[in-house]
Symmetry: C2
Subunit: 194 residues, 2 copies
């Protein structure tokens, strides 16, 4: 029996997106956001939604660029910290002893130690209400070589990314492989044609 | 050492969104999408991106509404099937023996057996390229009572949602709880003030 929870932002899982930007004075900043995802395949685009009150929002408006650094399980506390304090008041890289790396493709820094980096140029800005949605065209994805399998594909087990659960507000690891996409559903195709 | 993978749509994890719509003749349809997420907190909005070639795209343009039904682990094959075939050619509810339920709030059906339902009214349409991004304002979220904890919050373990991994194209379960958000990062706050 279904129960109503009201008009809430509940989808599972959401990603944990560490958004890298430069302040006007060139100081690197990062903040963590969970409202976002992949938005388009061609050109490759991601979206991330931020409140106008955040320093990152202003930085993106000014520089038209951001990066997304994906943390792994061991980096969860640092990613959580990036969402707790404002870069206006703290040097988040210094506090976590992580390293800002300058993107050579877009005007934004990323977290050198995080395993997967998405470098984005802003192509659209959508005012949705409390949050502004930024569309970023992906200029490159960089990954630690140790997170690739023998065929050069992303090995999700080695990447070990975080998933965020809204409502209770918690980070989870990914678990068991359930099966390959565009494949496990074929059982129903057979069924209909029989 | 980071390796470049090129300009690709790689973020981990993405959700598995089963999008429910009505055809012009009132027939219910569902398709599975992984490009989307939460987009705004107030008003509560989600986004989902679809190719114009899909039946669901046309249905949303016509009816200005859609639902998202989140499958659990046991429903992964049905969700995969929903992404494999077109509703123009197959009755996907009949093939999977799942039940279309009519939303009382928006002009779209959902999958009655899936544990979490998000009912959305379209408030914006963004043409991004191959994909059109639909912004849906959440009118209600419905959940199976069995997926709630004692305090009435979503129990992620009981919900048992799917996560999609791009590149290799695979479904994963969620795994271990890593820790509470807005909490595990406080260790770094202490560090900076010491």
């Amino acid at each position: 029996m279904k129960q109503s929870l009201g008009a809430k932002t509940l989808l599972y899982p959401t990603p944990v997106l560490v958004v890298g930007t430069y302040f006007e004075d060139g100081r690197p900043n990062v903040m963590t956001a969970a409202w976002g995802g992949i938005a388009c395949s061609r050109p490759p685009c991601v979206s991330v939604s931020l409140r106008a009150a955040t320093a990152t929002h202003g930085n993106i408006i000014a520089r038209k660029a951001f990066t997304i650094s994906l943390p792994n399980r061991a980096q969860a506390a640092a990613a959580d910290y990036f969402g707790l304090v404002s870069g206006r008041k703290a040097d988040k890289f210094a506090a976590t002893r992580l390293t800002p790396a300058r993107s050579e493709l877009v005007d934004a820094p990323y977290v050198a130690e995080f395993p997967l980096i998405v470098e984005c140029e802003v192509t659209a800005v959508h005012e949705l209400g409390l949050h502004t949605q930024f569309i970023g065209e992906v200029k490159d994805v960089k990954i630690d070589g140790a997170c690739l399998d023998a065929e050069g594909h992303v090995d999700v087990g080695k990447l070990d990314p975080l998933a965020f659960a809204p409502d209770t507000g918690a980070y989870f690891a990914l678990g068991a492989l359930i099966g390959p996409a565009y494949s496990i559903g074929k059982s129903f195709t057979t069924e209909t044609s029989s």
